[in-house]
Symmetry: none
Subunit: 194 residues, 4 copies
């Protein structure tokens, strides 16, 4: 019934735990939180069903670890993406690239992110993950702009990506850049940089 018979017995398998968590991220990406089952994860990770409840206390636990892994990776990509950024023009370009999928995060990654946001809406235990991710994003931006601008740009990224993945028509990159530029640009009241 399962592919268990086909799979060779895997006696020594030290990073099975990790592989299961990674497989869970994949399953969430493909089927959403609602469609994420023990069976699908076990198949994706190529481990026996019992292995999941042996290594994790339950599906909630596994899901939380998958979200934590994903948030950690997304934040890492974000930081790496801004590593070479110097000027405000660079910031505008970097954020635009981020939104248009040129920063290592594709639609699939963003789908998992939105799954996390929605799950966190209902399960406060997941807020520690979203908060720490957001804090890291803000820290990166605050190297270039003031906290208010940072908060605005961060929200803009979330909103624009959401609109981009939901839109049936392609979004103009030029327009995205213009929007970001307005949000990033220093204001009369004082310089944006700290």
């Amino acid at each position: 019934m399962q592919s268990a018979a086909d799979r060779p017995v895997r006696r020594h398998d030290p990073d099975r735990r990790t592989r299961i968590v990674e497989a869970t991220v994949d399953v969430i990406a493909e089927h959403g939180v609602a469609g994420t089952t023990h069976r699908l994860i076990a198949a994706a990770a190529d481990v026996p069903l019992g292995s999941l409840t042996y290594h994790f206390t339950g599906l909630d636990n596994l899901r939380a670890q998958a979200f934590a892994l994903h948030a950690e990776r997304m934040a890492g990509k974000y930081e790496a993406h801004f590593a070479g950024v110097r000027s405000l023009d660079d910031v505008v370009e970097a954020v635009t690239a981020l939104i248009h999928g040129d920063a290592g995060a594709d639609d699939r990654d963003w789908a998992v992110a939105y799954e996390l946001f929605l799950a966190a809406l209902r399960d406060p235990a997941l807020r520690t993950i979203t908060e720490s991710w957001m804090r890291r994003s803000r820290s990166v931006l605050e190297r270039f702009v003031d906290p208010t601008t940072s908060r605005g740009v961060d929200a803009l990224i979330e909103g624009l990506v959401m609109h981009k993945v939901l839109s049936t028509r392609p979004i103009s990159r030029e327009q995205t850049r213009e929007i970001i530029a307005r949000a990033v640009r220093p204001t009369e009241e004082g310089p944006a940089s700290p």
Copy 2:
């Protein structure tokens, strides 16, 4: 669980269909799409289980109608909220109020909206609902600002609300107003710093 036995037989019930759709919105708000079951909806609408599949072809169908109703109402509130707006200052104030829940849409309403966005990500059939909603929001804003600004403000609303409902600490309304003001304010200088 208990209401079924207590409920008197209700042979004539002309707006039962509508009541079921409304109950579905409530259930999605409270339990999320994943937790939305025929049983919960039937209990919320105070109708027997069989009534749901009599009036609707299935749960997908019912969910879609609930989302359509919710989007319609949200768009209506949005339009009503901007009815008395005249100046750009009014726009800034209106958008800020919208984000901070002073425009008829509370956290619960936004939760349903995000459920819709995520569901639309996986089910393209729901895109017609999200697209029409977004079109209406843009139309309202474009009475005051250019299309690019409109797209930016719209994305900002979505992102800021998301951050607000996910944040464990309160968000400064002043800061929100400032972010909106920058996005709305007319710009002569062109993008970013020269």
Copy 3:
């Protein structure tokens, strides 16, 4: 939900009863007894759902009447098919034609017949229908052959048709004729004709 809204009100509809029974035969042919529901019949007869339980005491009743109608028609076709038969050679030809679908009864008709046989196996109330049908078939054959031969030929028809509709490869008409000929042909012990 139903097509009821599309259908014009049919105030005077004297042969609705008959039309429902005929629609039931069609539904059995297409979906089998197991797949025959009030809803399908109502749709096929283009009558409102409530009309079925108004005119018939229940699904069993309706099914029985449909089977009775079908058996009556099959027997009629059988008799008509043998009307011009004179010699034993004619009998062989007539029976062969019957089996190969050249006597007004196609695979669909035989499917309904087998549905009836199987239903009669479990519901003795239907035996009156099958028995009367078989009696009429025998009577026809006994105009040409003795009762034993008649019983054999009758069984042969049932068995050969069954094999024909179940076989994935075409059945040789020549072979069928040869088999029938052997069963019909007079034996040494005495003439087959009465």
Copy 4:
């Protein structure tokens, strides 16, 4: 209904799969394909409901396996029944005994067979089962008679058994033997009367 509560937990139960398939044959025999439900099968096999969908992908799958088992057993009985047959007279006697239930296959077995035939009429996937069964029956008969005779005798068996189980009056064994004898007896004269 009651057995579930009484049944002790049966953690180790190596041939449960087989027992379920056998129980399914019984249920089909007693209630027909249309009346064969997970619940009835589970009760007959004395296993919990969830056990069925654990071992089988669905009811269709289980039904198909039950039919395959039954066909295999029927073919086996058939072959065993003809093991000692030498002369054509023996053949006539063996076939007669078969029809009158003296060959290990009773009315119940034949009911399942007809259920299979009817199911195969609608579901071509079951044709492999009926075809392989018929091929085996023919092979046995072809040890004694030519293929055309074999096909005729096979059809005769099916038709006569059907008539026998449907008839409310007993069928003369003498008459059956006579019919079989005519079909089996070698023929030099060629078809019908000249």
